[in-house]
Symmetry: C2
Subunit: 199 residues, 2 copies
């Protein structure tokens, strides 16, 4: 008779962990690296400090977990987007939109804070680099499939790289100001370029 009792407790513990991770992403994106402490995360997640420290004994443990989850979710989102690409003439615009979405959302804003901190923190850099590379590969696969569904355009790989670097640049431009209007114009110009280049 113990199993049914144990289950809900495990569920509660898992739910607390998820809330702590979600609060960390939100705090990183809106308040920045320095303000994202375990104590503040617990408060935002509505968890006790003890519960937070049970799940994440150190700030490093919290950040490692959140980075892994953040990148895994972004990578999974990219994979899901791949299945949703329209066919026909709207496909190129849709794939450019998807690429931009990866690098301008809340998760990327949070990732940018970690990224920036990792520039001078080797331990953090070692955690983030392989995850960043994995996300980069998934994003590249998505954009190549979007630009070249039949695998007949030899320039699709390079054009996909330009698209992703451009999207990263948009992400950076969006951190200090809401850049969505300007970005829409530049993105439209890039879709036009892509359409011409893909023939």
């Amino acid at each position: 008779m113990n199993a049914p009792l144990r289950e809900p407790q495990q569920d509660r513990s898992r739910a607390t962990r998820e809330r702590l991770l979600a609060a960390t992403v939100e705090l990183l994106a809106t308040r920045g690296w320095a303000a994202t402490t375990v104590a503040r995360v617990a408060e935002e997640a509505g968890a006790s400090r003890g519960a937070a420290q049970h799940h994440f004994p150190t700030r490093e443990a919290l950040f490692t977990a959140v980075i892994e989850q953040m990148y895994d979710t972004m990578t999974a989102d990219v994979g899901a987007a791949l299945a949703d690409l329209p066919s026909g003439p709207d496909r190129i615009a849709a794939v450019v939109d998807q690429a931009i979405e990866i690098y301008t959302g809340t998760r990327f804003k949070a990732a940018l804070q970690v990224w920036s901190a990792a520039a001078s923190d080797e331990t953090l850099g070692d955690v983030i680099r392989p995850l960043e590379a994995k996300l980069g590969r998934a994003a590249h696969k998505l954009v190549v499939a979007g630009l070249d569904p039949d695998g007949t355009r030899p320039n699709a790989h390079r054009l996909a790289q330009i698209t992703l670097d451009l999207a990263r640049g948009f992400g950076l431009a969006d951190t200090l100001t809401d850049d969505s209007k300007r970005r829409a114009g530049v993105a439209a110009a890039w879709v036009e370029q892509l359409t011409a280049a893909l023939g």
Copy 2:
């Protein structure tokens, strides 16, 4: 007889200030935002803590001064690059190189740390936003002049924006790893695109 004596002292004071600012840029770029304290800056600049505090009573004063100088220098460099653009077929590649240089140098790596911190610090955001806009305008002017020296290509403005967003994306990709090899290939593909688009 006082003037010749006062002069060297003013010079020394100015030189100390410059060394403090240069050390701040270097520390920001290599050690990050949190590690760049007034005490550490003084140490790196070979100045006394008293001298550092004379020039910059608070961390905020130091950062405001360094951001202004950093952006002013980047903007001036961009202006100088404008005069140096080659004519003929190498012009497009040269202007893409210049755009990339703006966003991948040590100064930009330092700026990125400030930028990232400014995402959650309004005071800092208010300092950096107009300077960033000024640099953006100078960079845009450089790239438009490079792509369209005769002012005859109506698409030059949009292509310049794509070039600069792309360069910013390269800058971000270069913070965690040395991305210069990959970047060279993508930049070459973009130069090809530009050349075709400009006709």
